[in-house]
């Protein structure tokens, strides 16, 4: 555990400090390609500062990966191909957007399932205690005036 912490510490110290990420010297001249590079970078996890994208992280590795993204784009790769290039080396973990796979089925369907189950529970509970609320009889003029006065201070 200590060993692992030391390793992690070595990584973190190498990346210490607040992020000032994409350097002007990295940026591509072609604005369309550069925009694609930024968008792709935002979807790739920095493996050193693991809760930032490589677009946000100032880690050395993030810098290298940003350069690779731009190189692949300049070489003509599509967005998916660029991501596949990096996944081939680092695995799915590098994608901040978890892929749609068998193992992430529950992740992606979870929220909708919870909502449906919850709604279902509510409907069931309601059905079990059906209510009959008689429509209120009409109010007399007097009662309407009293009501208006009461409503003034109502919560």
């Amino acid at each position: 555990m200590i060993r692992a912490s030391a390793f992690a510490l070595a990584l973190l110290l190498a990346a210490a400090g607040a992020a000032v990420a994409v350097e002007p010297s990295e940026m591509l001249k072609d604005p369309v390609l550069e925009a694609r590079a930024r968008a792709i970078s935002k979807e790739l996890r920095c493996l050193v500062c693991q809760n930032q994208s490589i677009d946000d992280s100032n880690a050395d590795l993030a810098h290298d990966l940003r350069l690779i993204v731009r190189e692949r784009l300049t070489a003509g790769d599509s967005d998916d191909q660029v991501k596949a290039y990096l996944v081939a080396r680092y695995g799915d973990f590098i994608l901040l957007d978890p892929p749609f796979e068998a193992k992430t089925l529950l992740l992606w369907s979870g929220p909708a399932l919870v909502l449906l189950l919850g709604a279902g529970a509510v409907v069931l509970a309601y059905r079990r205690r059906r209510i009959d609320v008689a429509p209120p009889a009409g109010l007399s003029e007097d009662e309407k005036k009293r009501l208006a006065r009461l409503m003034d201070g109502d919560a």
């Binding site: 400090g17 994608l95 978890p98 209510i131 201070g153 919560a155």
Partner: protein
């Protein structure tokens, strides 16, 4: 000497907590008034002991007593005083002391101001509160002692992490803890109710102020944290879906749901079992958050140095408190008397939908945060769950909820006239459409931001419209009606309005943020969003414990100088860390945000500028929400103690208050 005193005070607090946990609970079971009455002085005594311990540790930090291990690891004599003080809670042991201090503060507050609570409820609630304190005090004394000593004492300490050396540290953690530790009180009341076997409108009314207090502090705490991250991390972001951030969001979602379902219990005596469950879950989320931050099971930039042994201790505490509470719930909740019935289309129904959405949102955040852990321990590989996931799942839940929030207050209890309510929202619909059109005209046609703007406009106008309708603002006597309006109604208006403003801010800055990144030599300029920024010079200076690289940048618009910005990079030699201090110019409606980067090796510097439309609205909206909580808290119906007794003597005019 003083650290020893603090250590002793903690041990004393442990003993007092034990007494407070056992005797009043036994007294309540046997209806023994004297034993029950022990709860109040015990809670006060516990607070006193913990305050002594807190003061002792504070003293050690202020005078830089490096014989105390925690001070040696987290403080340095060159550090400014405010960071020596705030650094007390910038580490694991010190922040635990803050944890138990806030537990004790809430307990003492219920003891001091809870005179209108039935004795058995008060005794049991304080006993449960003491039980929680017992666990955490034991954790501290046996596994995380803040008063552990170093012998020999080092000549100077390791500096507090420079990123934490910011005024934000003075506000964010204490406010956050007042929030999610404060949810312990709602938990304690829920357990007391389960033991008693009775949940009724009166219970809901007694619990509400404590939940409200915790909720508003949590809202403010999250707001401060977001603002702090915004200006300190250097790229204008304000939320990253980091596991520890999520750990504060989940209790907030649960607490918001609890506030709303407690209304249904209070007004209509319904949703009792669910409300009890929520009170347990809200604090449960707080404990999960505590576990995640301190155990090391999940990586996070926010985590304290992790220690699985400590994690195990917290897990055991969680199993006892939450497992115990849920077991009690499984056993006793079925015996709670079922409550009032209502039609699905009614205010109760709307509040139920509110809870459904909030619970789903909390479950979603929990799922996303824990999924990598779950796959990993089940040996199914690793995935990483980041902002793209939450944007795809959380927003589709929260935006419809925000839209429904405009309708809810317009519905009446038991059975509502939905068509009538919707027709009262015609104006809000117009505002929403107009706002969306304006946004489309200014910024283009991407659908999601337009939806966000429309929802914000709808909610804001709908909330104002409800307020206007309730006070009949265009008729004579409106001011009088406004003054007679209960504070809780003011609170609701402020809270819902604040939410709308915050949504506006989030949409604007997320959707329409612009950036400009370039290398500049002194004298050169760049442009962003109609501004021109010119780098004048980059110089060096010295701070109390850091070296500064400071840039002077002139910001201009239409040829006129708007301001001079001075972004900095600070290097802390003791900690060997660099931080960036952004320079921000705000017009209220947008921020222009400048950061100085690395030298490019050719005489120039990397400079990046961001333009963040509407971003300040996020925090303004959140603070207005918190203000709504404060106003609501001051409602005379929740004010307990002397003022209520005095008012009871006055004759209440017929009709006033009868509608409650």
């Amino acid at each position: 000497m003083i650290p020893e005193l603090g250590h002793f005070a903690l041990a004393l607090a442990l003993v007092v907590a034990f007494i407070q946990m056992t005797l009043p609970m036994w007294g309540a079971a046997r209806n023994d008034g004297r034993l029950m009455a022990l709860a109040k002085p015990a809670a006060m005594a516990q607070l006193l002991c913990i305050l002594v311990a807190f003061g002792a540790l504070m003293q050690a930090f202020i005078v830089s007593d490096f014989s105390v291990a925690v001070v040696a690891r987290n403080s340095n004599s060159a550090q400014p005083l405010i960071y020596r003080i705030a650094g007390l809670w910038g580490n694991h042991e010190g922040s635990l002391l803050l944890w138990v201090a806030i537990l004790a503060i809430y307990g003492a507050a219920v003891a001091a101001f809870g005179d209108n609570l039935p004795p058995r409820l008060q005794a049991r609630a304080l006993a449960v509160q003491a039980a929680i304190a017992l666990g955490f005090l034991a954790f501290m004394l046996f596994a995380s002692n803040p008063f552990a000593r170093l012998d020999p004492a080092p000549p100077d300490g390791a500096e507090l992490n420079p990123i934490l050396q910011d005024p934000g540290l003075a506000f964010h953690p204490p406010m956050l803890y007042l929030g999610y530790v404060g949810l312990s009180m709602a938990f304690s009341f829920a357990i007391a109710a389960l033991i008693e076997g009775r949940v009724d409108a009166a219970w809901a009314r007694w619990v509400r102020p404590w939940t409200l207090a915790a909720w508003l502090c949590l809202t403010a705490g999250i707001c401060f944290g977001s603002r702090w991250a915004y200006y300190t991390l250097g790229w204008g972001g304000w939320w990253f879906w980091d596991p520890v951030e999520n750990a504060s969001l989940m209790p907030w979602l649960a607490a918001t749901a609890l506030l709303h379902s407690a209304i249904v219990v209070e007004k209509r005596d319904a949703l009792k079992g669910w409300t009890i469950l929520l009170a347990i879950l809200a604090f449960g989320f707080s404990l999960i958050g505590t576990f995640l931050v301190r155990s090391g099971v999940i990586t996070s930039v926010h985590a304290f140095a992790s220690d699985p042994l400590r994690g195990l201790f917290i897990l055991v505490l969680m199993a006892i408190y939450i497992g115990g509470a849920l077991a009690l719930f499984a056993w006793r909740a079925p015996f709670l008397k079922p409550g009032g019935l209502f039609a699905p289309l009614s205010r109760e129904g709307a509040l139920l939908i509110n809870n459904l959405f909030l619970a789903t949102a909390a479950a979603t955040v929990l799922l996303g945060t824990l999924y990598p852990l779950i796959l990993d321990v089940l040996g199914l590989g690793t995935v990483s769950v980041g902002p793209p996931y939450y944007n795809a799942t959380f927003m589709p839940i929260m935006l419809p909820l925000a839209a429904l929030t405009a309708i809810g207050p317009l519905l009446s209890w038991k059975r509502a006239d939905v068509a009538g309510a919707m027709s009262r929202l015609k104006f809000a619909a117009l505002v929403a459409a107009a706002a969306a059109l304006l946004a489309w005209w200014l910024e283009g046609g991407r659908p999601l931001p337009l939806i966000g703007i429309a929802v914000a406009g709808w909610l804001f106008a709908g909330t104002l419209g409800e307020f206007a309708g309730r006070t009949r603002v265009f008729e004579a006597g409106a001011i009088g009606r406004m003054r007679r309006m209960p504070r809780s109604a003011w609170g609701m208006t402020l809270a819902h309005g604040g939410l709308a403003i915050a949504i506006l801010g989030m949409t604007g800055s997320a959707a329409w943020k612009q950036e400009d990144i370039r290398d500049l030599k002194p004298g050169e300029s760049g442009t962003i969003a109609g501004y021109v920024y010119r780098l004048e010079s980059v110089g060096a200076a010295e701070g109390p414990n850091y070296h500064v690289t400071r840039a002077r940048i002139t910001l201009m618009r239409d040829g006129d100088t708007v301001t001079v910005l001075e972004p900095e990079k600070r290097f802390y030699p003791e900690a060997e860390t660099t931080t960036t201090e952004a320079a921000i110019h705000t017009t209220g409606f947008a921020d222009v945000y400048g950061v100085i980067g690395e030298p490019d090796g050719k005489g120039g510097w990397a400079v990046r500028f961001y333009y963040e439309p509407l971003v300040a609205f996020i925090w303004i909206g959140a603070l207005i929400m918190a203000l709504g909580g404060v106003v609501s808290l001051s409602d005379r119906r929740y004010r307990i103690g002397a003022p209520l007794r005095a008012r009871a003597a006055r004759i209440v005019p017929a009709g006033k208050g009868a509608a409650e």
